[in-house]
Amino acid sequence: MPETTTPGTTPDTSPGLAGDSVATPVPSATVPTATVPTARGAAKDAKRARRAGRTPFGWYVAWTWLGAVVLAAVFAPLLPLWDPAVPDYNNVFGGITPEHWLGGDTLGRDTFSRVIHGARASLLVGICAVGLGALVGGILGMLAGYFGGRTERVLALVTDVVLAFPGLVFIIAIVAILGSSLTNLIIGLAILSVPTFIRLTRAATLVVAQREFVQAARAYGCSPLRIIAREIAPNVVLPVAAYAFIMIGTFIVVEGSLSFLGLGIPPPTPSWGGMIAGGRTELLNYPHISLFPAAVMFLTVLSINYIGERTRKQFEVKESNL
C-alpha cells in the first residue's frame, strides 16, 4: 500500500563521528581540490565549517517578523489604528500617506489597520485548525500505528474517504450547514487536516513501537494506553509538531484561498485573503490594494516555512557518498 511519505518522519539520524565505518562524516565531492594542503585551503575549510555551524541571519529575521505579526495581532485593539471597518471617502484607492501608511482599499478603509486586524483571523484559523487536527490525528495515528489490525484498517478507510472527497466541497458544505463563522471554518479545516496527521503519526509510531523501551514496557505488562501515553507520545510529538508548524503556514494560505472564493471568514471581519480578493477588480489600476496584504501574508508564511524547514533539517544528514 503506498503510504504517503510525509516530511519529518525520519527518525533522528544525526551522523555519529565515532564509528569510522558507518556514516563517515564527510566523504563528499569527487573534485579533489587541495591535494596539497595550502594554508589558505585549510583556513577556507575551517571557515566554511564555522559558517555551517552558525545560525544564519535569516533565522533571526524570520523570528522577528513572526513575533511582530503575532504581537500586533494580539494587541491590535489596543493599538492606535484606524477602525478597520470604517471607510474614509478621501482614502478610496488611496496611496501611501502619513495618515494611511499602506493606503486604502476600494471602500477607503485603512489597509494598515486591516492588515493587522486580518492577522488575528488568519493566525487564529491557522493555529486552531492545525492544533485541533494535530491533536485528533495524532491520537488516532498512534492508535493505528500501535494496535494495527482492524483499528488500522478502519482508520485507513476513514483517511482515504476524506482524501478522496474534494476538500472544497466539504468546506462549502460545512459553511452552508453550520453557518459561516470563524469556528466552523476552523472545524472544517481541522477535519481536512486529520488524515495527514494520522498518516504522519502512524509512520512515526511504527518506528518508535519497535524500540527497546517500548518492547520492555510491553513485557512488563503495562497497559497499551499507558504505553501510548508515556512511551510513544513523547517520542512522536516532535516530528508531528515540526510538521504542524509548517501546516500553520499552509492553512493561512488555504484560508486566503477560501476568502478569495468568498467562502472564508465572513466580510466585516478583515482577513488577508479577503483583502487580496477585494483588490482583484482594481488589479490593473491600483495593484497596491492587493499587493500589501499579499506581501504580508507571503512574508509570514515564508517565515513559518523557513523556521519549520530549518528545525526539521536538524534531523537531516547532509553529505553524500558522491
Binding site: M1, P2, E3, T4, T5, P7, T10, A23, P27, T30, G149, R153, A156, L157, D160, V161, L163, A164, F165, P166, L168, V169, F170, I172, A173, A176, I177, G249, V253, G256, S257, F260, L261, G273, I276, A277, R280, L283, L284, P287, S290, A294, M297, F298, L299, V301, L302, I304, N305, Y306, E309, E316, V317, K318, E319, S320, N321, L322
Partner: protein, 344 residues
C-alpha cells in the same frame, strides 16, 4: 515473513512464509491485491454515500430552487415528487447506485442535461490542465533536485531552494494574479487572461489559453517536488551502494541517473499521484481566476444550485480518479521496486 504479516488475519489460509513454495506466495499476492481492491471499493461507496448525506443536510430545498421563485407550493410539491426528493436518503442512494451500475448517471435538475454529458464536457479540460501542469512541474523539479542533491549547498541548490521557498509561501491565486498583471493586461498583453479554447477547435489558441493556468498550478508543486526528491536523493547518496558504484569508476552522471534516481523516487511518485488525483477533481481557484470551464467550477456551481445529480456524478468521478490513481501508484511501485514485487 512479510507475506504472513500482511495477509493475516483477513485471509489466514494464504500465509506464505519465506520457505513456502512459489504457488503459495503467488496466492498470497492475489490475496493482498484482493484486499486492496476491497478497500478501494469501500472508499468509493463511502465517498458517494457521504456526498448524498452532505447534500441532504445542506439547507435550502432543491425543489424550491428548481421550481423557481414564483412557484406555488403545489408546484414545488410536484417538483419534489418528480425528483423523488421526498424519499429517504438511503433509498435514493441505492436507486442512484443502481443507475450508475447500469451506466445511467441521471440528468441535471436544472437544465435537464444528462450528467454524463456535462462531465464529458468538463473532464477533458481539467485533465489537460492537470497533466500539463504536472509534467511541467516534474520537468523542472527533477533535474534541479538531482543536481541539488549532487552538490548540496552550492549555487543551484541554494538558488532553487530560495525560489522554491518563495513559491511555496505564495498562495496560488496571488501567483495567478501576478501572472495576469505581467502577461495579460498589465505589463504586457501577450496571453489571454481568461477563457479556454478546446484543443480540437484551435490547438494554438488552446496552448495559449492553458499557459497561465498551468504555470500557476505548477510553480508551488515544482517547489515541493524538488524539495522532496532532493532530500530523498541525498539520503540515497549516502548508501553504500552508491560508494560501491563510484568505486567501479562510473561517472557521477551515471550514478545519479542510473543508481540513485530510481530508489529515491518513491515518495515523489506517491505525492505526484495524490496531486494528480486531487487536481483532476478540478482546481476551483485557478478555474475561477482564469474563467476556465473545468470540473471544479461545475462542482461548486452544483453545490450552490443544489443540483444533486451533477454533484453526485462529479464526486463519483473524483472518487474513481482517486482510486484509479492509487492503484496506478501501486502498479508503478511494483515496476520500480523489486522488493515490493516479492511482498505484494
Amino acid at each position: 515473513m512479510a507475506d504472513t504479516m500482511a495477509t493475516t488475519p483477513a485471509i489466514p489460509a494464504t500465509a506464505g512464509g519465506p520457505g513456502a513454495p512459489r504457488g503459495a506466495r503467488r496466492r498470497s499476492a492475489v490475496g493482498r491485491i484482493r484486499k486492496r481492491l476491497t478497500h478501494l471499493l469501500l472508499v468509493l461507496l463511502a465517498v458517494t454515500f457521504l456526498s448524498f448525506v452532505v447534500v441532504d443536510l445542506l439547507p435550502g430545498d432543491a425543489a424550491v430552487v428548481v421550481a423557481g421563485d414564483n412557484a406555488t407550493p403545489e408546484q414545488v410539491q410536484q417538483v419534489r415528487e418528480d425528483l423523488q426528493l421526498d424519499r429517504p436518503v438511503l433509498i435514493r442512494y441505492v436507486d442512484w447506485l443502481g443507475g450508475v451500475l447500469t451506466g445511467d448517471l441521471g440528468s441535471s435538475f436544472r437544465t435537464g442535461q444528462p450528467v454524463a454529458e456535462a462531465l464529458a464536457q468538463r473532464i477533458p479540460v481539467s485533465f489537460e490542465i492537470t497533466i500539463v501542469a504536472q509534467l511541467l512541474a516534474l520537468l523542472i523539479a527533477v533535474p534541479l533536485a538531482v543536481y541539488s542533491a549532487y552538490r548540496p549547498g552550492r549555487l543551484v541548490d541554494r538558488a532553487s531552494m530560495t525560489i522554491g521557498f518563495g513559491a511555496a509561501a505564495m498562495p496560488t491565486f496571488v501567483f495567478g494574479m501576478v501572472l495576469i498583471v505581467l502577461f495579460a493586461g498589465g505589463v504586457s498583453s501577450i496571453l489571454p487572461a481568461t477563457g479556454y479554447t478546446g484543443f480540437f477547435e484551435d490547438p494554438l489558441a488552446n496552448l495559449r489559453s492553458i499557459i497561465l493556468p498551468c504555470l500557476t498550478l505548477m510553480i508551488a508543486e515544482a517547489a515541493v517536488y524538488r524539495q522532496l526528491l532532493r532530500s530523498d536523493m541525498i539520503s540515497t547518496l549516502q548508501e553504500d551502494f552508491i560508494l560501491m558504484a563510484r568505486s567501479k569508476g562510473l561517472s557521477p552522471r551515471k550514478i545519479l541517473l542510473r543508481h540513485a534516481l530510481r530508489p529515491s523516487s518513491f515518495s515523489l511518485i506517491t505525492l505526484s499521484g495524490v496531486n494528480i488525483g486531487r487536481l483532476l477533481g478540478g482546481t476551483v481557484i485557478v478555474e475561477t481566476l482564469f474563467a476556465i470551464p473545468g470540473l471544479g467550477q461545475l462542482i461548486v456551481q452544483a453545490v450552490f444550485n443544489r443540483d444533486y445529480m451533477i454533484l453526485q456524478g462529479a464526486l463519483l468521478f473524483v472518487a474513481v480518479a482517486y482510486v484509479v490513481i492509487n492503484m496506478l501508484i501501486d502498479l508503478l511501485y511494483l515496476a520500480l521496486d523489486p522488493r515490493v514485487r516479492r511482498d505484494a
